[in-house]
Symmetry: C2
Subunit: 592 residues, 2 copies
């Protein structure tokens, strides 16, 4: 019975926090839910439009996922639902498969959520969360920046009331500039007005509220519902001034009522086409979500289980799919609001779902005159916060390889689209890592007088013996660098005819794979043919354990020494001891 209980507790974190749930927590979570609901409504509607879907789909995607995350999630404060980047990726994935506005398009979005959800659950059960690590930080940062630019550019057209479509940033910018003259003035007034208000409320509303006496926390929370205020004001303006007749596009009729629960049709051909985009959305969504969850959890010293989070996000997406929604994940802005408003348990999320359900049941008629330009403006403001060019400079300063991966991700995403951008980014960062480790740093080392330490001859005043070549390889020995190391040793030996012994110092060699073992055997064999002995020193325990399972140690012409000093002392004890006992030269004690 213990194991079943253990399994239940592991896969259903709700059993943990649910058991300690009190009336006080309930009241608190309820208030938080009210705030988050008000914030979520504009986002849900806007991101549905961004994905090319009817607005109510955004509301649907903000109910079941929140409820399911409350059951399965390990973060106390993460809020799941439609987010900007996943919505853009959804549009990119489905656009080639169906025309926007058709039932097939909606069906494909639902199927995408389902496939993505099942994938996430499978990854969670198989503990494959580490796959997300292959998205390096610079690639994710570059991808988010480029996606933000593309989304912002795409939403400028509805903000201005002009027509400009395209599947990449580059494709969108051209018609945007060309059609600028067709700007609809009424739409632009609403759109640019909303933009201005939203930018202002993001930057200046909180200080203003604090100045007029509102508490800092409350002020921060109130500032976050700026989009809801913009929605209400602009809806009233369109209705009162009859702007819809002046060409302002409005949301119009939104069907009232909750979504019907239904399994999407089992269409294997469609699902197969969605496999790659679903994988990319899953992984990007997971990476965003888990980093938000970890950051918030750390602030309260709570724990988040990365593998269980996969299951929770998977369940949320399956929930979205069976209730007519589209792909969802944990969002930064809403989770921070949830956290700062004081959410104590995932129940706050469940109550938010109820709030959204009430809106869907009773308030959709109020959305009739809501101008699409305002929704587009909320998206622009939200995504421009994601665009971060300073990371490019920071990465350039730190590592050229990481900068290359980041820049390539940005460029390819802007020019070729989100999927190509991600694939190129991941491929390039793996390649650059392999390339760097394929030509490791190899130092010729010598003994520092007055010590038993050995250091790079190029950086320190050290003592060497013309018959002994001591090399320190600063990398694990494995297939991409095996032959490089062979070549370097061959060269070094060919250049110095006096060499009789080669010692490889291995403190930084964390592994030796089968290819490197072959290379070591070849090196040993060739050196032997040339009358030169090969020794190793400072081989790590696990590496030594493995070498003992091969024939190499029997064939090795020299020995494996515990330390580099012992290795040199076994060949030329006089010189080693004389150097050790010599006066220590000034300024040679530094590392390494």
């Amino acid at each position: 019975m213990t194991t079943i209980q253990g399994l239940l507790r592991r896969y259903l974190p709700i059993l943990d926090w649910g058991a300690q749930y009190t009336g006080k927590t309930f009241t608190n979570d309820l208030i938080v839910a009210l705030i988050v609901t008000v914030m979520l409504i504009p986002q849900s509607l806007a991101y549905a439009l961004l994905a090319g879907l009817p607005v109510q789909v955004g509301l649907f995607a903000s109910m079941a996922p929140l409820l399911l995350y409350a059951v399965f999630g390990t973060s106390r404060t993460l809020a799941v639902g439609p987010v900007a980047v996943a919505s853009l990726m959804t549009a990119a994935a489905i656009a080639p498969l169906a025309a926007q506005g058709t039932p097939e398009y909606l069906g494909a979005a639902i199927a995408l959520a389902l496939v993505s959800g099942l994938m996430l659950i499978a990854m969670g059960l198989l503990r494959l969360g580490f796959l997300a690590n292959f998205l390096s930080h610079p690639v994710v940062a570059g991808f988010i920046t480029a996606s933000g630019l593309q989304i912002a550019a795409g939403q400028l057209a509805p903000v201005l009331g002009i027509h400009a479509e395209g599947e990449t940033f580059v494709e969108i910018v051209k018609p945007l500039v060309r059609n600028l003259a067709e700007t609809n003035l009424a739409t632009a007034a609403i759109g640019l007005g909303s933009l201005a208000f939203l930018f202002w409320s993001r930057g200046s509303l909180k200080p203003l509220l604090i100045r007029i006496g509102v508490g800092e926390k409350t002020a921060g929370t109130l500032a976050k519902i700026g989009p809801a205020v913009a929605l209400v004001v602009s809806t009233l303006a369109v209705w009162g001034l009859g702007l819809a007749e002046h060409g302002v596009k409005i949301v119009g009729d939104v069907p009232k009522g909750l979504p019907r629960l239904a399994l999407p049709p089992l269409d294997m051909a469609l699902w197969t086409k969605l496999l790659v985009p679903a994988l990319l959305i899953s992984v990007i969504g997971y990476v965003e979500s888990i980093s938000v969850a970890l950051t918030l959890a750390a602030k309260r010293r709570q724990r988040v289980d990365p593998d269980q989070e996969l299951i929770a996000l998977g369940a949320s997406n399956v929930g979205a799919a069976v209730s007519g929604g589209f792909p969802v994940t944990g969002g930064l802005a809403r989770s921070v609001v949830n956290f700062e408003a004081g959410a104590e348990t995932p129940a706050a999320g469940a109550f938010t779902a109820v709030g959204i359900a009430l809106v869907t049941l009773f308030l959709t008629p109020l959305l009739f005159y809501l101008p699409k330009a305002t929704l587009a403006a909320t998206i622009v403001v939200a995504v421009l916060a994601l665009v971060d060019f300073s990371a490019l400079k920071k990465t350039w300063d730190y590592s050229r390889a990481d900068f290359a991966a980041m820049a390539a991700t940005i460029l390819v995403t802007l020019v070729e689209g989100v999927e190509a951008g991600l694939v190129v980014g991941v491929g390039l960062s793996i390649f650059l890592h392999l390339w760097a480790t394929s030509r490791p740093h190899i130092a010729v080392v010598g003994q520092i007088p007055g010590t038993t330490s050995f250091r790079n001859v190029a950086r320190h005043a050290v003592v060497t013996d013309s018959e002994i070549l001591s090399l320190r390889v600063d990398e694990s020995l494995y297939f991409p660098n095996a032959r490089y190391i062979e070549d370097r040793i061959n060269e070094a030996v060919a250049a110095s005819p006096t060499i009789r012994h080669v010692i490889l110092e291995c403190p930084a060699v964390n592994a030796i794979d089968a290819s490197a073992l072959e290379s070591l055997e070849a090196i040993n064999h060739r050196l032997k043919d040339g009358g030169i002995t090969l020794h190793l020193s400072e081989v790590k325990g696990p590496v030594m354990d493995r070498l003992k399972r091969s024939h190499f140690l029997h064939e090795l012409t020299g020995k494996v020494h515990l330390s580099q000093y012992e290795a040199v002392a076994s060949i030329n004890p006089d010189l080693a001891r004389r150097t050790r006992d010599a006066e220590r030269a000034p300024g040679t004690g530094g590392k390494p």
Copy 2:
């Protein structure tokens, strides 16, 4: 002028050895060429058939490439020409594009040699030879074994005179077994007879010759021309006994004369289709060739330049293409014969080319009655020497990851074909490396009494402080493991509420990339929120240089210490010194 001379010397090694060429070397190289010519004729004919091409194409591919390698190659003894694996890969690449026996098929083979040659030259000029390193040793070994099996299975059909075709081992075996009853007896007599003779001559001819008084070296060389003897005897048998009328398939009319030099037509559509197979053939060919060249060069302490070898092989393939041949590379067997017969310079190869040219000019009528079964038998014997299952056992013992890559390469090659096998093998070995480094060995370390050394608490009797957590990460910190290390530190800290200091000991950290830097910043930040200080120790020079270019060192709550001892001593000097000065416990001085 010096630079032009330098470039000429670098790219034209013939200038080096040509200047010292003497009459004695000439005589010697001439004798070697005669031996190699006799050995090459059956191979050239057989491998052309294996690639699905007319026999004379094999002869064409053994002339220009040898001449060009003599000009550009850096190995004194490598012999280039058609080889088994490249011939199989050629057939696999072209079969989907054209029907065997058509001019289009031949044209595609020629184009493949050209594309592959241009690729190799480009790789050589751009110094991209390291790309070949991504073929790990187990993948190459597995690929060669599987290719050998597939070739041998494919050649059993002509040996027995039955019909069995297929593009993979699995596809070939089925019809082979099914059609066994259709064996042509005359063909099988010739084929199995040749097989038996060739196996015998490979194993027992040399000892026999030595016993009857032939010198050991001469005996070895004579044993290698067994295939030529089989050709002559079986041709005479077919001619004398009129076996062609009993269903024995013969080579028939071979057009006399040298190939006409011509550029293959510039067919971009065809070339594009050949890009991937050409890359795979180039890389596999290069890997085989360079390892033969390095091994032979080491025996005489000569040098081989891996980048120049790319150019030489590229030139050889371009030469093959413009003279009507197909892809070539350096072959093991012929190079060993060349070496053992005493070749001193690449001129021996050039003379061999002349020998083949003479055969092509004057002796092709003698090939009319040559039975294809004998050629197939020479292939079977040659490739079975490549099949090495013992490597599977050896690799299993040493490394399960390498074994997995090897086994997958063999299986996929047998079932799905050569290209799929190689791609899966390379992909899997890269993935397994990334996977292994994504969960590195992390040891909790403590101080060994009587020393300033720190070792794994799980392996040694060491002293620790309940307020200090000392961790040694045995891997570079980079994106696949950045979050794993974060998780492990979070867990360790969450498990021990007494911890006030975390020290990361970094002697095995050869690099810290931008993702890992973000993780370190996050770890530092979260530990700070929990009132815990983060320190580093034994950071390597190049890693430290890079960290100094980031803000991390300013934000770090603790310090970077030169040694782990100094780090601990800065926090709890009493305990560190007391432990250092304590009696050294017996048996705790071992490594690490």
